[in-house]
């Protein structure tokens, strides 16, 4: 069955990688767009994001993508948020002096502590950059065929603590326990970049492409 995946393009960076990875994962028709009609017509929606969250959300709202996304979520369209896309779905972020986000999930995104260190005193660099293991704290169809504690590629300085939400489906350990993935109904979102996570990431995207939007 031919399906259309809309990658929401709100002008904040390169979406080429996301588009290429979706095609590699089996998507036959990928549109990169901010157009409400095209997004609402799509069978699945990807909400990517890189950069500063205040600028991301300002552009997202200016283009009306917030209303479009809300409508799509209400209609039951499967949605995948990535990185700042995931953070934007939360209630609030402390980045850029504090930003109200889209509120699809409760919880506040915070910065990793200054002078961050591990429990044994090892200095931990920020951004949290590189491959870390994801513990699958809740079963979910998106994890099908992916081993527990598989490596995914992260790059971020702000994170959601797992204690902030009951919807966390995957966690990472970096001196603190952070949310690697969060899910509710037809929305699944990851802090890591599946499009940069080699075989595990491509498998996750393939699972998203066949997901029936149930948990």
């Amino acid at each position: 069955m031919t399906q259309t995946v809309a990658v929401i393009d709100y002008g904040m960076g390169n979406l080429h990688s996301v588009e290429s990875a979706l095609r590699e994962a089996g998507a036959s028709d990928v549109v990169v767009t901010a157009d409400a009609g095209a997004i609402l017509e799509a069978d699945r929606i990807v909400f990517p994001g890189v950069g500063a969250i205040r600028d991301c959300l300002a552009e997202f709202r200016r283009l009306g993508c917030d209303k479009t996304l809300r409508l799509a979520v209400e209609r039951g369209t499967p949605v995948l948020g990535i990185c700042v896309g995931m953070q934007s779905l939360m209630a609030r972020s402390e980045e850029n002096g504090g930003v109200d986000c889209l509120g699809f999930f409760d919880g506040t995104v915070m910065r990793f502590p200054r002078n961050h260190s591990d429990t044994d005193g090892t200095k931990l660099k920020v951004p949290h950059m590189g491959w870390n293991q994801v513990s699958q704290s809740q079963a979910h169809p998106i994890w099908d065929g992916i081993e527990d504690n598989a490596y995914f590629y992260f790059v971020h300085s702000f994170f959601l603590a797992v204690a902030e939400s009951d919807c966390v489906t995957g966690s990472f350990d970096y001196g603190v326990k952070g949310c690697a993935a969060i899910a509710k109904g037809n929305v699944f979102a990851t802090q890591f970049h599946p499009e940069k996570s080699h075989d595990n990431g491509l498998k996750l995207l393939a699972n998203f492409l066949t997901w029936d939007a149930t948990c």
Binding site: G13, N14, H16, S17, S20, A21, E24, V50, G51, A52, R114, N115, H116, D118, K123, L124, K125, V126, P127, H128, M129, G130, W131, N132, Q133, S135, N149, Y151, Y153, F154, V155, H156, S157, F172, D173, Y174, E195, K196, S197, H198, G201, L202
Partner: protein
């Protein structure tokens, strides 16, 4: 569970062709950056760095096309550096599919380029590359050099790393010009000093010749990632052998 230490093969590319050829078994075209990047992707490299050494600015359209093609076939992070002078260069490389852009000489002449691009595109995609040499006056001081290690800048290396981190760099690529090409191992004292001095990740580069050098880069140098070219290109070691050796030495790697 912990963040894995990264191994990053580096390709030198001139007008869309890999120079310092790559010697893989069964490779069709040792100069094709796309095929080589795909091989490293399949071999378990954690990232790929692409250093564009194309001299002429006019010929850089080839670079953008190459980056586009790599990015559509390689699903691990891609850093592109070389000849990055302005915000527009960074935007073009990111739009072509680079995940990170490495700024070297331009950061020295215009440090605000780092600040401006980090604000615009996010620190996560701004790498500052530093070419350093130890001063031979017994001071233990390291300075930043340009032009392949020929021109001193008078800038002290550790202070520069801290300044670039303050300006919003997301990562530092530290190359020892004393060690580059020697196979004597990374310059561990300066790698350790800079890694300790900044909160952002540091990539060690220059001088790797053995797998123990990679280990030392992490343990003694405190690096978060290691860059290597010739040991992988000439088939001395595979990425898998490197990772197995690191794992045996107690270093967390992605396998």
């Amino acid at each position: 569970m912990s963040l894995a230490k990264r191994i990053i093969p580096c390709l030198d590319v001139d007008q869309g062709r890999v120079v310092k050829g790559v010697n893989f078994v069964g490779i069709r075209d040792a100069g094709d950056p796309i095929e080589i990047a795909r091989r490293y992707n399949d071999a378990g490299a954690d990232e790929i760095t692409f250093l564009d050494i194309t001299a002429s600015h006019e010929q850089r359209d080839t670079t953008y096309r190459t980056v586009e093609q790599i990015a559509s076939q390689v699903f691990i992070p891609l850093t592109v550096g070389g000849g990055v002078r302005a915000v527009t260069d960074i935007r073009r490389l990111l739009n072509a599919g680079a995940d990170k852009v490495s700024i070297n000489t331009a950061a020295i002449f215009n440090p605000d380029l780092v600040r401006e691009s980090a604000e615009r595109f996010g620190s996560q995609c701004i790498v500052v590359a530093m070419d350093v040499k130890a001063l031979d006056n017994g001071s233990g001081r390291y300075e930043l050099f340009t032009h392949g290690g020929r021109k001193p800048t008078g800038i002290e290396a550790i202070e520069w790393a801290q300044k670039m981190a303050d300006f919003g760099a997301g990562e530092i690529l530290l190359t020892s010009m004393d060690r580059d090409g020697t196979k004597d191992g990374y310059d561990l004292p300066i790698t350790r000093a800079i890694s300790d001095a900044v909160d952002i990740p540091v990539i060690a580069s220059g001088g790797v010749g053995t797998l123990d050098h990679l280990v030392a880069g992490f343990t003694d140098g405190g690096a978060d990632a290691v860059l290597a070219a010739s040991i992988f290109h000439f088939g001395t070691y595979t990425v898998a052998e490197a990772k197995a050796h690191l794992a045996q030495s107690g270093i967390a790697v992605r396998v």
